[in-house]
Symmetry: C2
DNA sequence: CTTAACCTGTACAGATCGGTACATATAACA
DNA sequence: TGTTATATGTACCGATCTGTACAGGTTAAG
């Protein structure tokens, strides 16, 4: 009944959704995994969709920390951060628990742009993109919006490719490309 | 009973899978959409997975034509093709029927790398990537493998971003980035 | 101890899932 | 026309889906 109990449910559900997909994971499965009763589960989350949204909100916070906070720690100037973001990305991809991006997968399973799950996924991506654009602007890039968007494309591409091909070389290729783009935009 | 009847089933199934997802689409739905009986459907395709694989094979051929053949038509030198591939990409994205990449979505729903659906998706991506690497090599790029992979990242990123944000600006950003990368690799 | 508010587990509802049994219709050939 | 092979439609199977009704247990106030 405590908040931490609910947090625990979200954690476990996130793990299963992330690994096995949203439609493929039934509430019965989650009830079994968490050990809670179905009634209690539905007391915490009115519908399966509510539970999915809760996991996505948690994932959003987690990735903000994993990507943005780590990048800020790594580098102390905007220009360096544009590159350091790709080190954070590689840590994530090579970290062992990587299974592509939960929001890309969520938007694949809930494609209607008006669907809350699709919208929260778009919001997540926009936040990351805004961060890159802000760094590009602070670094006095020639076209900060374009540069930020392009770096975002590289990140997304690396995520998808790493998931499909395995390995973390995609992150290296992305970083090398980012260095070229950033150098060209700051020259 | 003819081959064309089966092709028609694949076409219709592809459309629904592409728009609504694989797990979210039941065989009953496909039977209703195609107007065929369930028995006949299962005579053509032994399982739902067989049907999915058939749609993916068809999609693979279609995209090969849409991306590679069109790019070859557009440009007559390897260096130009590396850029022209992004015009083909934009045509696809801006074409109105774009709903992200079916293989990215398939690999999201069937994540086990050993699963046939995941494998066919990886094969598809590898084919496109090999094409870009081959063009980069023919253009005497400094590091053709890396360049090809990087351009592939941009394409994947543009696909995912266009799906999440809507619009086709991602394709423009990707093309502009490709121009910078190609110029740097050929200089 | 009694009563009332809650929390939990189980069993189930109604719908849909992938897949099949079987009876009928249609066609090909004798 | 009679017979046989195949194609189709329907009705159904057991399992699973999301979500709920309800009975029994637990706790706290009076």
């Amino acid at each position: 009944m405590t908040a931490s109990k609910k947090e625990e449910l979200i954690d476990k559900a996130l793990e299963v959704f992330y690994r096995e997909g949203f439609h493929a994971t039934g509430m019965d499965r989650l009830v079994a995994v968490t050990g809670i009763s179905k009634t209690s589960m539905y007391k915490h989350f009115k519908t399966k969709e509510d539970l999915i949204l809760a996991t996505l909100e948690r994932r959003h916070k987690y990735l903000m920390s994993l990507i943005i906070d780590r990048t800020d720690e790594r580098a102390d100037t905007p220009a360096k951060r544009l590159i350091a973001a790709f080190d954070s990305l590689k840590d994530w991809i090579a970290g062992g628990r990587f299974q592509s991006c939960m929001f890309i997968k969520a938007s694949s399973e809930f494609q209607d742009p008006a669907h809350p799950i699709h919208k929260i996924s778009a919001d997540h991506k926009r936040t990351l993109q805004d961060y890159l654009v802000a760094q590009a602007r602070a670094a006095n890039a020639r076209n900060p919006e374009q540069l930020g968007h392009q770096l975002m494309l590289l990140q997304e591409g690396a995520i998808v490719t790493a998931h499909l091909q395995g390995g973390s070389e995609a992150a290296d290729d992305a970083k090398a490309a980012a260095e070229v783009l950033v150098a060209a935009a700051l020259a």
